[in-house]
C-alpha cells in the first residue's frame, strides 16, 4: 500500500471515529474535540490522495491550510459558546439546557 493510500485510509477512519463521537458523546468539550478529530481526518485524506506522480501538489496543501484556519476559528467560536453556556447555566451538555 502506498503512503498516500495509507494516509487516506487513516484519515477516513478518523472521520468515522470523529463522527461517531460527535453524535454519541454528550459533553460539549468531547463534541468539539470530536469535530477536530474529524477535521484532521479530512485533511489527512486530502493530503494522502493528492500525491501526483511523486511531485508535490500545491492545491491540496492550500486546501488543508484553509481548512485548518476555518477549523481553528470554528473551534474558537464553539469553545466561547461552551464557556458562555457554562458560566450562564452551569451546563456542560446540551441536554441539561432543555
Amino acid at each position: 500500500m502506498s503512503g498516500g493510500l495509507l494516509y487516506a485510509f487513516t484519515g477516513a477512519s478518523l472521520v468515522a471515529l470523529g463522527l461517531y463521537a460527535l453524535i454519541v458523546y454528550a459533553h460539549l468539550l468531547r463534541k468539539i474535540l470530536a469535530f477536530n478529530v474529524m477535521g484532521s481526518g479530512v485533511f489527512l485524506v486530502l493530503v494522502g490522495l493528492a500525491q501526483r506522480a511523486g511531485a508535490a501538489d500545491p492545491v491540496p496543501q492550500a486546501m488543508v491550510l484553509t481548512g485548518i484556519v476555518v477549523a481553528v476559528s470554528a473551534t474558537a467560536l464553539a469553545l466561547a459558546l461552551m464557556r458562555r453556556l457554562f458560566t450562564d447555566s452551569g451546563a456542560t451538555t446540551l441536554d441539561e439546557t432543555d
Partner: protein
C-alpha cells in the same frame, strides 16, 4: 431600461462580494451607531448591483470572471448564470426590508452591537457562495455562512438560544466536513476542483458515488431536511425576529442552492432516479412532520420555525422530477423548485417579521396572546395572512406558481404520487396558518393592552408579503432568466 445601458460594462461580480465585506469592516470599526446609519445605503446599493447583474445575464448570457487574473485551479473563478442571478436578487430583495426592520427593532434592545457586522458578513458569504464555481470555494463560503449565522443567533441570547446556536454550530460543522471529504475524494480522483472541468470527468463508479453521497448528506444536514432537521426549530425559533427571517429565508436556501447546483451540473451522470426519489420522499416526510409539529406548537415563533421545516420539504420535491425525466418535466420541475425557493424566502421572512411585531405588541410570545389583534394591528396580521397564502400555495401568489409548475412536472413525468404530497402539504399548511389567524378574530381578553408597534416594522413585513404575492404575477421574468441562460 435605457438607463441600464450605462451599466453594461460594469464588473458586478467582485463588487457583489466586496461591498458587503467593506460594509462589514466599516460597521465593526465605526461602532453600532454609524453602522446603523450607513446600512440602508449599503442595502440599496447591493440591490442595485443584483439588478444590474440580472439584467446583464438576461441580455448577454452567463458570465465568468477569474479573480486577479489567476485561472483555475490555482485561482478562484466567479460564475454567474440565470440561477445565480435569481439567488442574488432574492438575497438582495429580502435583506433590504429585513435590514430596515432590524434598524428599528434593535433600537429597543441596546447593546446588540454585533448585528450589522455579522449581517454584512452573512450577505457577503452568501453572495460569494452563489458566485463560486469550484467545489472548494463553495466549502469555504459555506463555512463562513455558518459561522456568521451562529453569531447572529446568539446575539440576543438567553441560555436556550445559546444552546440552540451550539447545536446549529456542531451540526453545520459536521455537515461541512462531510462535504469536504467528498471534495477530497473528487480531487483525489480527478485533480481539479472547478465544476465545469469536473463534470465531464465523472462517471458512475464507487468513489464517485461515495463522494456524491457524502456531499449530499453534508448539505442535507445544513438544509435541515428531515430527518436531519433537529437543529433548526430551536435555532430559528429562539433567535430575534429579523435574524430568524434571515435564517429561514436566506441561509437555508444557500445550502439548498448548492445541492441543486451540484445535482444538476456535477452529478448529472451519476445521480440515479432512485436517489432522486429518496430525496423526494424525505421531502414529503418533512412536509408531513413539520406541518404536524407546527400544529402542536404553542409559541408563535416555534410554529413558524416548524413551518420552515415543512416548506423545505417542498423544495426537495423537485429532485425526483428533474432526474432522468425528460426535458419537459425537468424544466417545469426546476422552474417550480426555484419559484418555491424565491416565494418562500419572501413569505417566510414576512411571516417572521409579522410574528415579531405581534410578540412586541402583546408582550408575550404564545399564540393565544394574539386574541383580538385584528383590531389593533391589522397590518401585521395582513402580512401574516398574505405570506400564509403564498405558503399554502393559493393563488395569486408565487407559492401557487411554484405548486402549479411542480404539479405539471409530476403529471408530465408520470410520477403522479407527488400530486397527493403537494396538495396534502398545502392543506396541512392551511391548518397551521389558520390556527394563528383565527385567534386574531377572537375578541381580546378583558384588560388586554396591545403596545403600539413602529410603522417601519409593520410596513417592512407587509412589503415582503406583497413581494411573495407579486411573484405570482411576474413569474415570467425570473423564469425566462432561469431557463434561458443556464449553461
Amino acid at each position: 431600461m435605457a438607463g441600464m445601458q450605462a451599466f453594461v460594462g460594469v464588473d458586478t461580480l467582485p463588487w457583489l462580494i466586496a461591498l458587503p465585506l467593506i460594509f462589514a469592516s466599516a460597521s465593526f470599526l465605526l461602532g453600532p451607531r454609524a453602522a446603523r446609519a450607513i446600512a440602508p445605503a449599503g442595502l440599496v446599493i447591493g440591490l442595485l448591483a443584483a439588478v444590474v447583474l440580472a439584467w446583464q445575464v438576461a441580455a448577454g448570457g452567463s458570465q465568468r470572471q477569474a479573480l486577479g487574473g489567476w485561472a483555475p485551479p490555482l485561482g478562484i473563478e466567479l460564475y454567474a448564470d440565470g440561477l445565480t442571478a435569481l439567488m442574488l436578487l432574492m438575497t438582495a430583495v429580502v435583506v433590504l426590508p429585513v435590514g430596515l426592520y432590524a434598524r428599528v427593532y434593535f433600537e429597543r434592545q441596546p447593546g446588540v452591537a454585533g448585528f450589522w457586522p455579522l449581517t454584512w458578513f452573512l450577505i457577503g458569504a452568501m453572495n460569494a457562495l452563489y458566485l463560486s464555481a469550484d467545489i472548494f470555494n463553495l466549502y469555504v463560503t459555506l463555512e463562513l455562512l455558518g459561522l456568521a449565522a451562529v453569531g447572529l443567533i446568539i446575539l440576543t441570547g438567553g441560555v436556550q438560544t445559546i444552546a440552540a446556536g451550539m447545536r446549529y454550530l456542531l451540526a453545520a460543522l459536521a455537515g461541512s466536513l462531510l462535504y469536504l471529504l467528498g471534495v477530497a475524494l473528487l480531487y483525489g480522483a480527478h485533480g481539479t476542483l472547478a465544476i465545469a472541468l469536473l463534470a465531464p470527468l465523472l462517471a458512475p463508479a464507487p468513489y464517485a458515488g461515495l463522494a456524491a453521497a457524502l456531499m449530499v448528506v453534508g448539505l442535507l444536514v445544513k438544509s435541515a431536511l428531515f430527518p436531519l432537521h433537529f437543529w433548526l426549530p430551536p435555532a430559528h425559533g429562539g433567535a430575534a425576529a429579523p435574524v430568524s427571517a434571515l435564517l429561514s429565508a436566506l441561509v437555508i436556501k444557500a445550502s439548498f442552492y448548492l445541492l441543486l447546483r451540484l445535482w444538476l451540473d456535477l452529478f448529472g451522470t451519476i445521480s440515479t432516479a432512485a436517489a432522486g426519489q429518496l430525496l423526494g420522499w424525505l421531502g414529503a416526510a418533512a412536509i408531513l412532520w413539520g406541518s404536524v409539529l407546527a400544529l402542536r406548537q404553542e409559541k408563535l415563533k416555534m410554529l413558524v420555525a416548524y413551518s420552515t421545516v415543512a416548506q423545505i420539504g417542498y423544495l426537495f420535491l423537485l429532485f425526483p422530477l428533474v432526474t432522468h425525466t425528460g426535458a419537459g418535466a425537468a424544466t417545469s420541475a426546476l422552474a417550480g423548485g426555484v419559484m418555491q425557493a424565491l416565494s418562500h424566502a419572501a413569505a417566510k421572512s414576512a411571516m417572521f417579521l409579522a410574528v415579531g411585531n405581534m410578540i412586541l405588541s402583546s408582550a408575550r410570545d404564545d399564540i393565544a396572546s394574539i386574541d383580538g389583534l385584528s383590531a389593533r394591528h391589522p397590518t401585521s396580521l395582513f402580512a401574516f395572512a398574505m405570506a400564509g397564502v403564498s405558503l399554502m400555495g393559493l393563488p395569486p401568489s408565487g407559492g401557487f406558481v411554484a405548486k402549479w409548475l411542480l404539479l405539471q412536472a409530476a403529471l408530465v413525468a408520470g410520477q403522479w404520487w407527488w400530486i397527493g404530497v403537494i396538495i396534502g402539504g398545502g392543506l396541512l399548511t392551511a391548518a397551521y396558518v389558520l390556527q394563528v389567524l383565527r385567534c386574531a378574530f377572537m375578541p381580546a381578553p378583558r384588560g388586554k393592552i396591545f403596545q403600539p408597534v413602529p410603522r417601519t416594522l409593520e410596513f417592512s413585513a407587509l412589503a415582503l408579503a406583497v413581494v411573495s404575492l407579486a411573484l405570482g404575477f411576474v413569474a415570467t421574468g425570473p423564469l425566462a432568466l432561469l431557463t434561458g441562460h443556464r449553461s
